[in-house]
Each structure stands twice: as structure tokens, then as C-alpha cells.
């Protein structure tokens, strides 16, 4: 009879963590990890594997952990997933691997993500990264554009296949959303850094500060490289198009998070980049991006941080765990409310936000509830910082400078299931193809495309 309840993971106390950027979830102890690993009943037909977008052999790595062979566990994980320390932390496990774990039917599913995290962290702490066997060089060159999870994975896979890989990144640091978007307290940057170094140790040549479409176009890359992978993400911020959005103190979540995380504005003036530390902060949106923005604002010292979201709590796309964390840290939720106007003072500073109450109707055939405004319910909130976190779309820079690269009406690059775009030799994957999604799905896409590129380079297709 398996243990029904999972082992809790220790977390930093909410009162304390409100004023620091240290990691919130502290990870299992060795004993907790062993205990949790032994909850897995090693199903003959494990359902969990199908829930993982990169197909990790979950019972296999967990069995190694239960046997206290962490080195074997991490080897098993890394054979399918180059970034386990990251996925163990940020995967929405509750809708992926853990959702379909059989133990979830009667009790709580195995804490697969926490175990993955433990094994990966154990490796960081304990063993020297094994010398990587250099595969025979194929003599083929591949350019990977964008160093988010999609690009990092594609680059690592292609290098392991013996291709010569150059990874181009527009910013001054590699990692994509993992460094500029997801905050330190959820994903320490040192972890991203060591994963980037691992990819470098495979022989990938990382070129930072390189904006493809400006410095070189994709067509110019194709003169030098046999194939190109585009993993440029969905980094273009969407604004609401309401009055007052250009007031000082109104940020896109991308700008706010980039200042705080990538540029380390939370350490200003030790770091030079400033960010406005508001007292009354409103974050518009209900996804992970909104939660991250709100929780950063709390840590920057705001008195009151409110999430304004036009639907109800059940409709919020953010992970439950993150909503819970935000609530514990004192973030307020103003649901069924939609901003209609932002007001400012004579020197262009934001002062108030006008919102309209919404009502959820019965779900339509598609199952989605459309919120409808309640006429006459306009009301004002006092604010000094507003952060818009209602979504992003792909940056048009590359499609604009690449002839014949087809995009959808949402600006995403059109690619087949292998990641092949409308241009021969040009592949894509991750948010740039799907629109904003998840770290693990971007990695899965990077891996799939790497296989397809390998076939293409070998002339199999």
C-alpha cells in the first residue's frame, strides 16, 4: 500500500521571503528525497511518462533515487532532458507528469518535479561534471538563434550529434526567459548559468550581443551554415490599447522583469539599472508572468500589490502553487475586473487606474466563459506603478528580414511537426512557433527539431 500523502518541500517563511530575492522553495533533504522516491510503485505500464513532453523514463530515474544512486538518476534524467534543475523547478507538473501519475487517483501523485530537482541539485553540489565524450565531427555547421530553453536544447542535441554549433543571443546573457523573466526567487540564476556552461562544454560556440536580423540576417547565416534553428521566443509585449498606457510608471511585464531580473535593479544602486519602486502596484493579468511581477513588486517594498484579472480564480492560467505563494506573500486579487483607463498627473506620472467589474456568463460550447462588463461599474484605484502582463507575441524582426519565412496572423513562425519552416534548412521551435507556452515544451521542440536537422544534414530527407 503506497503512502497517500507526498512529502512536503520546505519553503522560506512568507514573512521573511517578502523582503528578499532568495529562492522560496528550499528543496528536499536527502531523507525526504529517498522517502518520496520510495512512494513510486514502479508501474508496469507507467502513465506518467506520456505526461512528460520530453519523455523522461520517470520510474527508472526514481528507482535509482530510491536506491540512493543519485549519479545514475541524474544520468538517466540527462539522457532525455538537458536542463533537469530548471524543469524540476518551473515545469507545471500538476498538468503534466504528475497529473497522470496513478497515485493521484487515490492520494497525491509522486512529487516527480521535486525529485528531479533534488537529483539535479545533488549533481551540482557533489560530482564533477563527467568528461563528455566528443562525438565524431560531421563537418556540418548549424546556427541556433536564441538561447532560451528551445535554443539551448537544440544546440546541446546538435552538438552531441557531432555538428559544429554556434548559438546566437541578442542579449548580453544566455537563457532567454529563464534569465530575464523568471525571478531569482523561483529559479536562481546560478542554476541557469551552470546549465548554459554545460551546453558550452559540449562545444557549442555562444555568441552573445548578436541580434539576428540586424547584424546578420537568416539568409546570411545560411551562406555560412548548413541549417538554422530559430528559438527566438515570444518576447514582444502586448499592451491593452487603453488611454494612459504611456504614462511614466506604467510598465510592460517584460520591461519590469528585465530590469529586476536581468539587470538586477533590486540591487540598485549596487547595480546601475533603476526600476520604480511603487507603493501601490497593480499588475494586470492572471498568468505566471503576472504572479512573478507581483511577487517582485512585493520584494521591492510595495505597501500594496494587487492583481487585476478580468476572469475568476479558476480561469487564472498561472500555476496554483504560484498563486498560493503570491497570496501568502500578501498579494491581493481583484478578480472579475478589467482596466479601462489609466490616469496621470501633470508631469505624466500614473496616479489612478479605472476598472470595470465583469461578470462571468455560462460557459459556451467551447467551454470558455467570456467575461462581460457590468455597465456603470467603473471605479478608480490609487496606484503609482502599473504592470501590464496580458501576454506577448513573437518579435517580427526575423520574419521581416527573412524572405519566404511564413508566419501566422499571430506572428508565430509556421512550422511542421518536425519544426521545419517554409524555408529549406530553416527550423523553429518553442514560443516562436507555439506562442507563449512552457519551458519544457520549448525544450521538447528544440529536441525534435535537432533530430530533424540531423536527418536533413545526413541527407535522409
Amino acid at each position: 500500500m503506497p503512502v497517500l500523502g507526498r512529502n512536503d518541500m520546505p519553503r522560506q517563511d512568507p514573512e521573511k521571503r517578502r523582503s528578499n530575492f532568495d529562492e522560496v522553495a528550499l528543496g528536499y533533504s536527502h531523507e525526504q528525497a529517498l522517502a518520496e522516491a520510495s512512494r513510486c510503485i514502479q508501474c508496469k505500464k507507467p502513465t506518467c511518462i506520456a505526461g512528460c513532453p520530453v519523455g523522461i523514463d520517470i520510474p527508472a530515474f526514481i528507482q535509482y533515487m530510491a536506491d540512493d544512486d543519485m549519479d545514475a538518476a541524474i544520468r538517466e534524467l540527462k539522457s532525455m532532458n538537458a536542463l533537469p534543475a530548471i524543469c524540476g523547478r518551473v515545469c507545471p507538473q500538476e498538468t503534466q507528469c504528475e497529473e497522470v501519475c496513478v497515485l493521484g487517483k487515490k492520494g497525491e501523485p509522486v512529487a516527480i518535479g521535486r525529485l528531479e530537482r533534488y537529483a539535479a541539485d545533488h549533481e551540482q553540489d557533489n560530482i564533477e561534471t563527467e568528461a563528455i565524450e566528443k562525438p565524431a565531427a560531421t563537418g556540418k555547421k548549424v546556427a541556433v538563434v536564441g538561447s532560451g530553453p528551445a535554443g539551448l536544447t537544440a544546440a546541446a542535441e546538435l552538438a552531441k550529434m557531432g555538428h559544429s554549433v554556434t548559438l546566437f543571443e541578442a542579449l548580453h546573457k544566455a537563457g532567454g526567459v529563464l534569465v530575464y523573466g523568471i525571478p531569482e526567487f523561483r529559479l536562481p540564476k546560478s542554476i541557469v548559468q551552470s546549465e548554459v556552461e554545460y551546453v558550452g562544454s559540449l562545444g557549442v560556440d555562444l555568441q552573445l550581443n548578436t541580434v539576428i536580423g540586424k547584424l546578420d540576417t537568416v539568409d546570411e547565416l545560411l551562406e555560412e551554415y548548413n541549417a538554422v534553428f530559430l528559438g527566438t521566443g515570444a518576447g514582444l509585449p502586448v499592451f491593452m490599447g487603453i488611454d494612459g498606457e504611456n504614462l511614466s510608471g506604467v510598465y510592460s511585464a517584460n520591461e519590469f522583469l528585465t530590469r529586476v531580473n536581468l539587470m538586477k535593479a533590486y540591487q540598485f544602486p549596487g547595480y546601475d539599472t533603476p526600476v520604480k519602486r511603487g507603493q501601490r502596484v497593480v499588475v494586470v493579468g492572471g498568468g505566471n508572468v503576472a504572479m512573478d511581477s507581483a511577487r517582485c513588486a512585493v520584494r521591492l517594498g510595495a505597501e500594496e500589490v494587487t492583481i487585476v484579472y478580468r476572469r475568476g480564480e479558476d480561469e487564472m492560467p498561472a500555476r496554483n502553487e504560484e498563486i498560493e505563494n503570491a497570496r501568502e506573500e500578501g498579494v491581493k486579487f481583484k478578480l472579475l475586473s478589467n482596466p479601462t483607463r489609466i490616469l496621470g498627473d501633470e508631469s505624466n506620472w500614473v496616479t489612478q487606474l479605472e476598472c470595470l467589474n465583469m461578470e462571468l456568463c455560462e460557459p459556451d460550447e467551447s467551454g470558455r466563459c467570456r467575461p462581460v462588463p457590468l455597465e456603470g461599474s467603473e471605479h478608480l484605484m490609487d496606484v503609482d506603478v502599473v504592470i501590464i502582463a496580458i501576454g506577448t507575441s513573437p518579435n517580427p524582426l526575423i520574419p521581416m528580414t527573412t524572405k519566404g519565412l511564413e508566419t501566422s496572423k499571430w506572428g508565430t513562425i509556421i512550422a511542421d511537426e518536425d519544426g521545419l519552416s517554409s524555408r529549406e534548412g530553416v527550423y523553429g521551435g518553442g514560443d516562436v512557433v507555439t506562442g507563449a507556452a512552457t519551458v519544457i515544451s520549448a525544450m521538447g521542440a528544440g529536441k525534435t527539431a535537432a533530430k530533424a536537422i540531423n536527418n536533413y544534414l545526413k541527407g535522409n530527407k
Partner: protein, 281 residues
Amino acid sequence: MPFKILGKIQIVPTIHQMIIDAPKIARKAKAGQFIILKIDETGERIPLTIADFDPEKGTVTTIFMEVGKTTKHLSTLNAGDSLQDFVGPLGNPSEIEPSDTVVCVGGGVGVAPIYPIARAHKAIGNKVISIIGARSAELLLWEDKMQEVSDELYITTDDGTKGHHGFVTDVLKKLLEGDEPISLVVSIGPAIMMRTVAGVTHPFGVKTIVSLNSIMVDGTGMCGACRVLVGGETKFACVDGPEFNAHEVDFTLLMNRLMMYRDEEQQALENYKCDRGGCQC
């Protein structure tokens, strides 16, 4: 992979020229584009216009004025030092098309970025009249270089120590009232100057281009820090610009948004001066 500084000189008080080894950028750069640099790990990303570039030598020249922490720090670096990050070329190049007389108006440190634009117009055979101004004669920049690429060059100083006593816009207005067939005015300088230029050319219906210096972070369209209002539409200066039709620009918004971090900038500068022994704290 740091970017080496090959040369740094002070051209006039508080304004410096820096030549950076950046062969790839030098090969791709065009008039009107800019770079973003970050000095070191804790530094801020700041945009500077590409004032000159040499594809053969692989160098990019920037001209910057000391206004705050980053530009002050930059002014202490010298040949042999390096910058941690240097990215470009960013933004759209200037449109350089055959036309009637082109008037290039540069004010203060804005003379530097106007230079490659004037040179490009001259190179395709356009007649170029340039008006360059500064607060005072000792702060006047690149007179000789501007002379080389202009058919006519006018100089103005606010205090009358050289050339016309007054503003660049006084001379511009006279030219517009004269017989010269002017089809384009390009102006770069402080926002307040560009706004005045726009006001002067508007009644004459002459196409006027300005280069907007909004606050930026990434310079690739990812953050929206640089948003400006042009013709009633929100644009990102880094990817939609930096050059825009002056008659459509909301300069008040631009100037207000440039003030957004005034307190923080002040604090950063004070700290920096203290660190360097400039005060008694």
C-alpha cells in the same frame, strides 16, 4: 568576449569620442543606427548613436556627453580598456534618397550623429546645408568634419562666442524663408531643440526627420521602455525608429518619459562620485 577600446579623446569639455574594435558591427552599420553598450557586470545598458564607422579597420566611433553615472564612468576609460557588452547595429538606417537641398541641424552632442547622415546625403549627390550649434564656442563639436560633408555650414552659439548669436532654429528659419529649394530637414539634438525645429519647419510644410533618444533597455523591441507617440500611435523607438517624422512626434511625452528616473539617476551619480572620493560621505 569583451570589446576593446582603441582610442578615447575628449573633443570638447564633457564630450568624448571613443573608438571601439567591433568589426562585425562596423561592416553592417549604416547612418542613423545606434549601439547599446554595458561597461561591466553591474553596469546599465545605454544607447549611443554610431557617429562613424570604418568597415576596413573594423571600428565603430561613438561620441558621448557626460550626463550621469554611466557616461561619467565611460569618460574615465581609455585605449586598452574594454567594454563588457557592445551590441548593434540597432534601429533603422536613415533614408538617404536623391532630393533637393537637405538641411542637417545638429545641436550639442547631436552634431556627432548628424555627421554620418550629412555624409551619406553628400555621397549620393544631394546638396547639404548644415547648421550646428552649441551653448558656447568651446563646446562646439566636429566643425571640420561637418565642413567636409556640407556645401554650406552655419554655426550658432547660445552665448555668441562663435557664429550666429542664438539658436540653430534662427538660421533654419531664415533658410526656409529664402529661395533655397529645401526638401528635407534632419535634426538631432536635445528633445527641446528637436521640438523647436519641428515647430519652425511645420508652417513651411518641409519634411522633417528627428532621431528620438528615449530611455531604452534591450533595443530589440522586447520591453517597450522606449515607447513614443507618433501620429497618435504608440511606437517603439528602438525598432520602429529611432528616426520619425518630427511633425507627428509627441515631444512632451518624450521629455516627460526621459525624466522618469531622475531621482534614481541622481542617487546613482552621487554614489558614484562618493566611490571615487568626490565627496565627504
